[in-house]
């Protein structure tokens, strides 16, 4: 049963000068008898847990994967029941009042992946989310934004685009978003585990600065203790069952409990990296005929165009240089490590070497070595074209060919899962390739066992595994079918010492078995396994601005400044629609629809269409920025209605059939072009303030719509995964493509909904539901004005619609 441990560090508040945001009163956090059993699990994750945290205390929470550290933080933040369902008992009280039930904003929670926290398009509005939920006045909101960005040392101004941030910057922004509610307790759930060491250091410094100034109680969960040991004063260790097994001043616990900590797999600072687990190389060697690979990349570069997504098509983005001028060579029986800061292009180069991505410049050569001369040096191609035996199934090749040669372990393991069960997933590729079932089974079971994924997990759906387990499953699945080339993207993230040693053991076995291994990693200890390494430099971002003051004299946010050409994106401003607010655009899109029933004959409808065409340069600008193919569906719709109504009408009367068809064109064509100017975030601002649409459904909708671009990117990643796993259908098969689309959509939904649950945690912790609990209205950081251009746009559309109706009813 749970071990109650009294607090040891006492009021170890070392905060010096407290800022204006300093806390007053008693903020002791008391956890009593806390028990949580999620439905579907026999045993509780938290089992009668007791814990006391003095105000201002700084605590590091350590323990093996699955010991319930993240769950405990969610319970402390009061968001447990809103993200999972189960049986909860016990109490959590802050300063004497209960917080287990609902978030109050007094307890802030920062999650592992900053992408889960983002709700807004710009830095300022992202930080403002919490204060808006708390119902603060506009001036106060911007004061809080400024204060929080300063606390974390954020380098950019409030108008900077969120999507242009690096991982470390985004995590600091997420931290600022949490601090903006001035929490008395700050909870950090593995805030640095997805960052490279340099970015992790900036996040750590931001946390140190913030707690020093605010005096907040700090609880950090992290596998790598070394980042945090000099910042915290107390170390609490949980065991596999979620019981507190050690608790005390950091230095004391590290010394006294060193052996136990190592045994639990905790990364004790200063301890040597664990020895790789010995793994039988025959489990990881290439399948017969797949070995002996050599891949060479010369001066390769990848430039990505930013697609016009849902939320930002009218913002024109410069192409992004993901990789430039890289040289690399990897051969059978060796490991090539790709190093460098986040954003330097490690993943991109790994994908290029693996044959998943065609470089936009440079040359990739794939050949066989050691095959007694037969076909050595078989294939070479410019621009990533690949050839030769080992290269069959390069970036443009068929799925089975690619899968036979390449194993791929993606950076986000959740995306790599394709099987219904763990066992299925590991065997998927081998079965698709028609490999010998007994051989495959032996390897699959051997690899799973070596990686600590025991038979009790084999029938589980892979999505229900923990993050660390998923990553190890992805590794097993990439090797089981015996590819000649193995590309691994950050395979050790989130692993404790024992699972780390297993991952390293499997990599070593693959190398010793004759596989060519590409390893993109920021784990310095893992990189020691490499025979060669390539260090990449981060590409300079194409002009990021360092804006100054956060607010203008009236305490409002400055509007988009004119001539912001150095921004990540340039805004199209030609035409009335581009300069109008979202409500005007929405209204203008609906007006023709309201007028359409009054069109009584096809000539009137045709007149209306022509009239819209005449005013289009005024409304849309002289150079229509949007691609005309947006109108294709409308055109098809018009022709199809024309045909249906004509074909089926008793006398095949074309004139009568033309009316519904042209009517559709009359109201759909202008709307389709106009609605391209709607962006979710401003639309939410205006709907919330001018039409008083309730906050939560509106904000959740906006946050989800903002994810559209990333969902499309995920869809593309899922496609690549299915190709490299050997299960994508041939391009010519229509039925296959439809089934593939259904599988991809389901996989996308699984990924998207799991992310939505994490988003809900982050949003709730920032007071998303506070207006409902307190009855106080939410406020908005920026006004939603109705401008002259709004009236002009609506006027023009109204005029054309009215004129058309008038022409129809006129007596001539």
């Amino acid at each position: 049963m749970g071990v109650g441990v009294g607090l040891t560090a006492g009021a170890g508040v070392s905060a010096g000068a407290r800022s204006s945001g300093a806390l007053e009163g008693d903020h002791e956090l008391v956890v009593r008898d806390l028990t949580w059993r999620p439905f579907g699990r026999r045993d509780p994750i938290l089992d009668h847990l007791d814990l006391d945290l003095a105000p201002g205390e700084r605590v590091l929470l350590a323990g093996p994967s699955g010991s319930g550290k993240s769950t405990l933080l969610r319970a402390l933040a009061g968001v447990l029941t809103s993200t999972d369902s189960g049986e909860l008992s016990g109490s959590v009280a802050l300063g004497g009042h209960p917080v287990l039930d609902h978030p109050t904003g007094e307890v802030g929670l920062l999650l592992q992946d900053p992408a889960d926290a983002m709700v807004a398009g710009t830095v300022g509005r992202e930080v403002a989310f919490g204060p808006e939920n708390a119902g603060l006045a506009r001036e106060q909101i911007w004061e809080r934004v400024e204060e929080s960005l300063r606390l974390v040392g954020f380098p950019y101004g409030i108008d900077h685009e969120v999507r242009a941030l690096s991982g470390g910057e985004a995590q600091r922004l997420a931290l600022a978003g949490v601090l903006a509610l001035r929490p008395a307790v700050l909870l950090l759930d593995e805030p640095c585990s997805m960052l490279d060491p340099a970015s992790a250091a900036t996040v750590r410094d931001a946390v140190a600065g913030a707690v020093a100034q605010s005096g907040a109680t700090l609880v950090v969960v992290e596998h790598q203790l070394s980042h945090w040991t000099d910042l915290v004063d107390r170390l609490v260790v949980l065991d596999y069952q979620g019981h507190v097994v050690a608790d005390g001043p950091v230095a004391d616990v590290l010394t006294a409990e060193r052996d136990r900590l190592l045994e639990l797999g905790v990364w004790v600072p200063g301890a040597e990296a664990p020895a790789p687990l010995p793994v039988d190389p025959s489990l990881a060697e290439p399948a017969p005929g797949a070995g002996g690979v050599l891949v060479r990349a010369e001066d390769v570069g990848v430039v990505r165009t930013v697609p016009p997504g849902l939320s930002s098509w009218q913002v024109v983005h410069d192409p992004v240089v993901a990789l430039a001028g890289a040289d690399a060579e990897v051969r059978a029986g060796s490991v090539l490590a790709l190093r460098g800061a986040s954003g330097a292009g490690k993943s991109t180069l790994a994908a290029v070497l693996a044959g998943l991505l065609e470089p936009t410049s440079g040359m990739v050569t794939r050949m066989r070595v050691g095959d007694a001369g037969a076909g050595a040096g078989a294939g070479a191609g410019a621009g990533g074209g690949s050839g030769g035996a080992a290269g069959a199934g390069g970036a443009s090749g068929d799925s089975a060919g690619l899968a036979a040669g390449t194993g791929w372990c993606p950076q986000n393991p959740e995306i790599g899962m394709v099987g219904r069960t763990v066992r299925d997933d590991v065997c998927t590729t081998g079965r698709a390739l028609g490999l010998d079932e007994a051989w495959l089974e032996r390897r699959a079971q051997g690899l799973l066992g070596a990686l600590g994924l025991g038979p009790e997990l084999w029938e589980r759906d892979p999505h229900t595994l923990s993050g660390g387990e998923q990553r190890r499953l992805a590794l097993a699945s990439s090797i089981a079918h015996g590819p000649g080339l193995l590309a691994l993207d950050e395979p050790t993230v989130g692993q404790d010492r024992s699972t780390w040693s297993a991952v390293r053991g499997v990599i070593t076995a693959a190398r010793d078995g004759g596989t060519a291994v590409v390893l993109a990693t920021h784990d310095a200890q893992l990189a020691e396994v490499a025979d060669d390494q390539v260090v990449l430099e981060r590409q300079p971002a194409g002009g990021s601005t360092r804006a100054g003051g956060a607010t203008d004299a009236e305490g409002r946010a400055p509007r988009e400044p004119a001539g912001g050409s150095t921004r990540p994106g340039r805004r199209v401003t030609s035409g009335l629609a581009a300069r109008s607010g979202p409500l005007a655009v929405l209204l203008a899109s609906v007006i023709p629809m309201a007028g359409a029933p009054f069109l009584r004959d096809w000539r009137t409808a045709a007149f209306g269409l022509v009239a819209f065409l005449v005013v289009s340069p005024l409304v849309l600008g002289r150079r229509w920025p949007q691609p005309l193919h947006r109108l294709t569906p409308v055109l098809i719709g018009v022709l199809s209605l024309l045909f249906s109504n004509c074909w089926l009408s008793p006398d095949r009367d074309l004139a009568s059939a033309a009316l519904p068809a042209l009517r559709l064109g009359f109201f759909a064509a202008p709307a389709v072009l106009l609605m391209a100017y709607l962006e979710p975030f401003p639309l939410g601002d205006h709907l919330g303030q001018r039409l008083r649409v309730p906050g939560r459904p509106l904000l959740a909708g906006v946050a989800a719509l903002q994810r559209f671009d990333s969902l499309v990117a995920t869809y593309a990643e899922l496609r690549v995964v299915r190709r490299v796993r050997g299960i994508a259908p041939p391009r010519r098969s229509v039925v296959g493509q439809v089934r593939e689309a259904a599988s991809l959509t389901f996989a996308l939904l699984v990924h998207g909904l799991r992310q939505a649950a994490r988003m809900a945690v982050a949003m709730e912790a920032r007071g998303f539901s506070m207006p409902v609990a307190t009855g106080r209205r939410r406020t908005w950081a920026q006004p939603a004005p109705w401008r002259g251009t709004d009236t002009a746009l609506v006027g023009v559309i109204l005029l054309v619609t009215a004129l058309t109706i008038g022409v129809g009813v006129a007596p001539w």
Binding site: S91, L586, F643, M675, G701, L705, F708, V712, M763
Partner: protein, 214 residues
């Protein structure tokens, strides 16, 4: 301190045991994401598949109603997942907004359709007093969504020249499609999502997991 008992009921109407109208934050966030995810799929369907199928039904256009169920799916799935009045309308409207923003053949009219379809599903679950979320409830939802969409909107705006026979055939095809694609399909989708651990905070997953434990 104040000891607590279960905050979640196992067999109750909602995951948190709160009242039928008290939406949790996660209900909105996951519902909206479901809509956007399906919106991505819709857009692909509208753009690549629908024109082809449209051509295939050209010989007797009222058969085109058989495709309607695809668009009704978010409403049924949303109601099954969230189990609260208005869930179907909320999810279907956001899916329609995605279509609207991307560009589609019906322009702003997708918003009207989205509302009517969601309303139809809500009425169906309301008739069952928000107590049944099984496959027959889902199919009824799909049928009523088709009735609302076709009888209240499409007959009058898109197919005024159809004879009454043709209108009724179109309606029948729509209802069949609503029952099968949206009803059966939506039910299967939500159950599969629950099995994949994608909707852990929702009653459908909680039932599945507890049953698996027994």
């Amino acid at each position: 301190m104040n000891p607590r008992t279960d905050t979640s009921t196992r067999s109750g109407r909602t995951a948190s045991g709160r009242s039928l109208f008290a939406w949790r934050g996660i209900d909105f966030v996951v519902g909206a994401m479901l809509a956007v995810g399906l919106g991505v799929a819709f857009w692909g369907f509208d753009t690549f598949l629908y024109p082809v199928l449209n051509g295939a039904t050209a010989g007797y256009p009222p058969i085109g109603g058989l495709m309607l169920g695809i668009w009704l799916l978010p409403a049924v799935a949303g109601a099954l997942l969230i189990r609260r009045p208005g869930a179907a309308i909320y999810v279907e409207i956001i899916a329609a907004v995605v279509e609207a923003l991307l560009g589609n053949r019906w322009g702003a009219a997708v918003l009207v359709s989205g509302f009517l379809q969601g309303l139809g599903v809500s009425v169906a679950f309301g008739l069952l007093r928000w107590r049944r979320f099984d496959v027959s409830a889902a199919m009824l939802g799909g049928v009523l969504a088709a009735v609302f969409e076709i009888a209240a909107y499409e007959w009058w705006s898109y197919y005024p020249d159809f004879s009454w026979t043709q209108k009724l055939v179109y309606l029948g095809c729509g209802m069949l499609s609503g029952a099968v694609i949206a009803g059966l399909g939506g039910f299967a989708l939500v159950r599969a999502l629950a099995r994949a651990g994608a909707v852990n905070a929702f009653p459908v997953a909680q039932e599945a997991r507890e049953n698996a434990l027994r």
